[in-house]
């Protein structure tokens, strides 16, 4: 084990000394903080960092690195079982500005600091607001608690803040309940709540991890703007180096409860010294900067072909006499998955990509008139998934399998690995018990797990290992076609990288074909042979990745690419492009604009490159 001094490069200490040496100028100083649970080894071990007034400090690390606990310690909202074993958190007191140790002050005093001087934004906007109270009530509460002003003035300030965070109709939001707003809107409401007290320090704990990439870009831009306006400091907790590059002035990298590297952002990102930081940098997915050359074969061998596929859902009206609403989840999809290749479908939540995946697995029937053709072998028999009988369906299911998004909930916690893996073979009545176990062992090896894990239960595995297990399970029946529904979005970046690598290896080795669903263009850039970008149930642009990424035509594709945070300080997110493309289709430039059911045609603009626009 290295000591701390050795891990910090010596020349860095001049620029970025021990936190305590910065003295009075720092706003928040964390010194030798150690936090642990029960008798176990500490999960935050001797952590030091400090935040200057007005600057953004990024705490970077993977889940379990202790970054969240470290920043929550500043507000003293740690889990009940956590004990602060040693260390100080210094913050200037009101008035004379003398430093006080937040670990020592009374709970009453702490309540005056929380929300008033230090406020916090949380990761899950869907669950961080009380479902039973109006947004206005919850936000105004900060003013009720900390500011001595009358109701009319409170309301006025909250409405002004709502307008500032980008709500078009602040009065309506004030009287709305959280379940009436989308995720991005709720996160804006959370930001309004954190900002309305005009705090000196904002702690943002993975504020955009749960959001779509375009929403993420807009929310990050908003935090940056507000920071400039109010001159507050921000502690940004994140695992995404792309976000760090766009936001941070200085960076603290944490691994296993310890600070492994810290310093100004440009220095750390351009020239990472510690091995762990370099690993993180390498693992961050990126849209490559130069086009790769690929030959285009003219006649393609599709394993799955979707022709004229639409899907409409009819929702019951809110009361029996109200008209039913028709939702066009997917409209006129035409694409195919080539044998041995990967077709990626990219889009935000609600774009229809998951409906597409379900139809490709015959789990959902498309509207009449659609054809979804599946050819298990080259030149083999073609089955139309729209017209499957029970026997056909069973045969099809052996050939087509799915890898799910959330590895935590897709494995039955009460089934041993062996049972989970052999179950598909049991259902299809394949082989003897010994055959099934042998196959399970083989699959485990393929996904890089070992045989002795067969008797364990899923809870003994990490997120990445569980995703390997679900891949192994999908492979048990020897499929030729896999649908991967956001297989990496619940994983840490470095694990994400490994899982993608595994998927690529398996595809090349077994000549599998993937339909890969994702909201993340960077993940897709790495694995896809062809990309279809979806918005509002329509494919707006489709083509090989090199075409799509270096010559994006559609404003929405441009917005997706622009919104992708890159771990490169010199390529900040261009919010103007994001705002233009991520808005409603009716606000797109004339050639692409549509509203309602009348849409421009998918026009071929280059070899294999199609864009939905008027010619």
């Amino acid at each position: 084990m290295f000591t701390r001094k050795q891990r910090l490069a010596p020349e860095r200490e001049g620029i970025w000394g021990e936190a305590g040496e910065l003295g009075v100028s720092a706003l928040l100083t964390v010194e030798n903080l150690t936090i642990g649970f029960g008798d176990a080894a500490p999960v935050v071990d001797d952590v030091n960092f400090s935040v200057q007034p007005g600057e953004t400090l990024a705490l970077v690390g993977e889940s379990g690195s202790g970054k969240t606990l470290s920043c929550r310690a500043a507000l003293r909202i740690l889990p009940e079982m956590a004990q602060v074993r040693s260390g100080r958190v210094l913050f200037p007191g009101r008035g004379d500005g003398a430093l006080i140790n937040l670990m020592d002050v009374s709970e009453r005093h702490m309540c005056r600091i929380r929300g008033e001087r230090i406020s916090m934004i949380f990761q899950e906007p869907m669950r961080s607001l009380s479902p039973l109270h109006r947004i206005g009530n919850q936000v105004t509460e900060v003013l009720r608690l900390h500011k001595n002003i009358d109701r009319a003035e409170q309301r006025k300030r909250v409405l002004a803040m709502f307008e500032r965070v980008g709500f078009k109709d602040p009065d309506r939001v004030y009287d709305s309940y959280p379940f009436e707003l989308s995720g991005g809107m709720r996160q804006r409401a959370m930001i309004a709540m954190a900002m309305v007290g005009k705090p000196e320090l904002l702690i943002a704990d993975e504020p955009t991890t749960a959001l779509d990439v375009t929403t993420q870009a807009q929310v990050l831009g908003l935090i940056k703007d507000l920071q400039k306006d109010f001159g507050m400091a921000v502690v940004l907790v994140t695992h995404d180096l792309g976000v760090v590059a766009n936001m941070a002035d200085s960076v603290v990298v944490m691994n296993r409860g310890r600070v492994v590297e810290s310093g100004p952002a440009p220095l750390i990102l351009n020239d990472p010294r510690h091995g762990y930081t370099r690993d993180l940098m390498a693992a961050a997915p990126e849209i490559p900067a130069t086009p790769m050359d690929k030959d285009k074969e003219s006649d393609r061998d599709y394993i799955l072909e979707m022709r004229n596929v639409s899907k409409t859902f009819t929702l019951k009206g809110s009361s029996p006499w109200k008209p039913r609403t028709v939702v066009h989840a997917v409209r006129g999809i035409e694409f195919g998955v080539e044998r041995g290749k990967t077709l990626a479908v990219v889009g935000e939540s609600g774009s229809g990509k998951t409906t597409c995946a379900r139809m490709a697995l015959a789990a959902e029937r498309a509207d009449p008139g659609a054809e979804i053709l599946f050819r298990a072998q080259t030149g083999g028999e073609t089955v139309d998934l729209q017209k499957l009988d029970n026997a056909d369906r069973l045969a099809f299911q052996r050939k087509a399998q799915m890898v799910f998004q959330d590895p935590y909930s897709t494995l039955n916690p009460r089934m041993r690995v062996k049972d989970a893996l052999t179950e598909p073979m049991e259902i299809h009545g394949i082989g003897t018990n010994a055959d099934r176990t042998a196959r399970a062992v083989e699959m485990l090896r393929w996904v890089g797990l070992s045989e002795n894990m067969l008797t364990r239960y899923p809870h003994a595995f990490s997120g990445g290992q569980r995703q390997r297990l679900s891949i192994a399970r999908a492979l048990m029946l020897g499929p030729t076609f896999l649908v991967c529904d956001e297989p990496t979005s619940a994983l840490d970046v470095s694990v994400q990288e490994q899982v993608l690598q595994l998927l690529e290896e398996i595809r090349d080795r077994l000549n599998l074909s993937y339909l890969f669903i994702s909201h993340d263009l960077a993940v897709v850039a790495r694995i896809a042979d062809e990309v279809a970008v979806m918005r509002a149930g329509l494919v707006v642009e489709q083509g090989p990745p090199d075409q799509l990424f270096y010559n994006p035509q559609h404003p929405y594709t441009k917005a997706l690419i622009a919104a992708q945070p890159e771990p490169d300080i010199n390529r900040p997110i261009n919010l103007r492009i994001v705002a233009q493309g991520a808005g409603e289709p009716s606000s797109w430039p004339e050639a692409f604009r549509f509203d309602g059911l009348d849409t421009p045609p998918l026009t071929v603009t280059g070899p294999g490159h199609k864009v939905r626009r008027y010619a």
Partner: protein
């Protein structure tokens, strides 16, 4: 206004449910072979008392018990005219109790209000005990307060009600001079309501309320504690803490409000279980509630009396669920505005 529409809608469905329940009650009561009168006629025949037989036969015709079952039901409900025109439940004619030889209305009139009174007192007692204890147990979970309240709660759950009743009667009478048995001093029975009578009733209510309410309160308290503990782990609680709210104010405003839903929803199921569960207690304590009457009526196949009592219990249940549904809609905007247009 949406809430008013919802309440009216629920009221209509409640009436439909009540109709269905009345059919089922009537069928179930008639499932055992014979009825009170035919049993009595057989008995009189066996002992050779022919004058009684005439009266019984007369009653049979009078109450249309010689008609087919569906007709009997229609006449009982008042949908079809009986021998004396429309005279059924919906006209407010509850029929004749053969066992007690009195109109049902006269027989249960007082007991009805006593039943409502005793059960209302028990419900209030349950909520008054369970709410603070459940909240404290959750807020101070895994401390001596939590363990003590859980221990007392399980004692309350585990002790048979009638045993508790006997013990409380003995000690209550000996040390606190509380009256034993009954719901009022015998001298007030049948008297019009006066202040003195009310006082007597209240003093007599203390022990029955406690006995009937204990187990319900213990169960409710544990449920509230579990719900609240669940809610305390949710992110919005952390948000509220990060705002700088005091712990107690935060607890009441956010997690308690959410944990309250199942608490309110319980009203619906609490009422019927109290009514049927308190039968034994009422017998032991000598309470003039509807419970002991129901027991006798069912034993002797007293058709109209038992049907009326069962209908009354069903009505209480439905009113309970109606109240809890409307309260839930008032409390939870997700229920109220679930279908509101964006």
């Amino acid at each position: 206004m949406a809430i008013l529409r919802f309440a009216v809608f629920r009221l209509v469905t409640m009436l439909i449910t009540l109709l269905v329940v009345s059919v089922m009650i009537f069928i179930i009561i008639n499932l055992p072979p014979g009825d009170y009168l035919s049993n009595q006629i057989n008995e009189l025949r066996a002992t050779g008392q022919s004058s009684g037989i005439d009266k019984a036969e007369f009653l049979r015709r009078e109450y249309s018990l010689d008609q087919p079952l569906w007709k009997q039901y229609m006449i009982w409900m008042g949908f079809l005219p009986g021998p004396y025109g429309f005279a059924g439940m919906i006209q407010g004619e509850f029929g004749w109790s053969f066992e007690f030889d009195k109109p049902v209305a006269d027989l249960v009139g007082g007991a009805l209000w006593m039943t409502v009174l005793v059960n209302l007192a028990a419900v209030l007692f349950i909520y008054a005990i369970a709410l603070p204890l459940g909240v404290i147990a959750a807020a101070r979970s895994k401390t001596w307060i939590d363990y003590t309240s859980a221990f007392v709660g399980y004692l309350g759950l585990a002790t048979p009600n009638f045993l508790l009743a006997l013990i409380l009667f003995y000690y209550g009478n000996r040390y606190l001079n509380l009256p034993i048995g009954g719901l009022m001093d015998p001298k007030f029975e049948g008297e019009p309501m006066t202040f003195e009578k009310m006082k007597s009733v209240l003093v007599h209510l203390i022990i029955p309320t406690f006995v009937i309410g204990t187990s319900g309160a213990a169960a409710m308290m544990q449920r509230l504690r579990a719900n609240l503990l669940d809610e305390l782990g949710k992110p919005y609680v952390e948000t509220a803490r990060a705002k700088g709210m005091k712990e107690s104010a935060m607890l009441v405003k956010y997690p308690l409000r959410v944990a309250f839903n199942p608490f309110v929803a319980d009203i619906g199921t609490l009422l019927p279980s109290l009514v049927s569960g308190s039968v034994l207690v009422s017998v032991v304590l000598g309470l003039q509630t509807i419970g002991p009457v129901l027991l006798t009526a069912l034993k002797s196949q007293d058709l109209f009396l038992s049907a009326f009592v069962l209908m009354f219990v069903a009505l209480l249940t439905l009113i309970g669920t109606l109240v809890s549904d409307v309260l839930l809609a008032l409390l939870d905007p997700r229920i109220r505005f679930g279908g509101r247009e964006k």
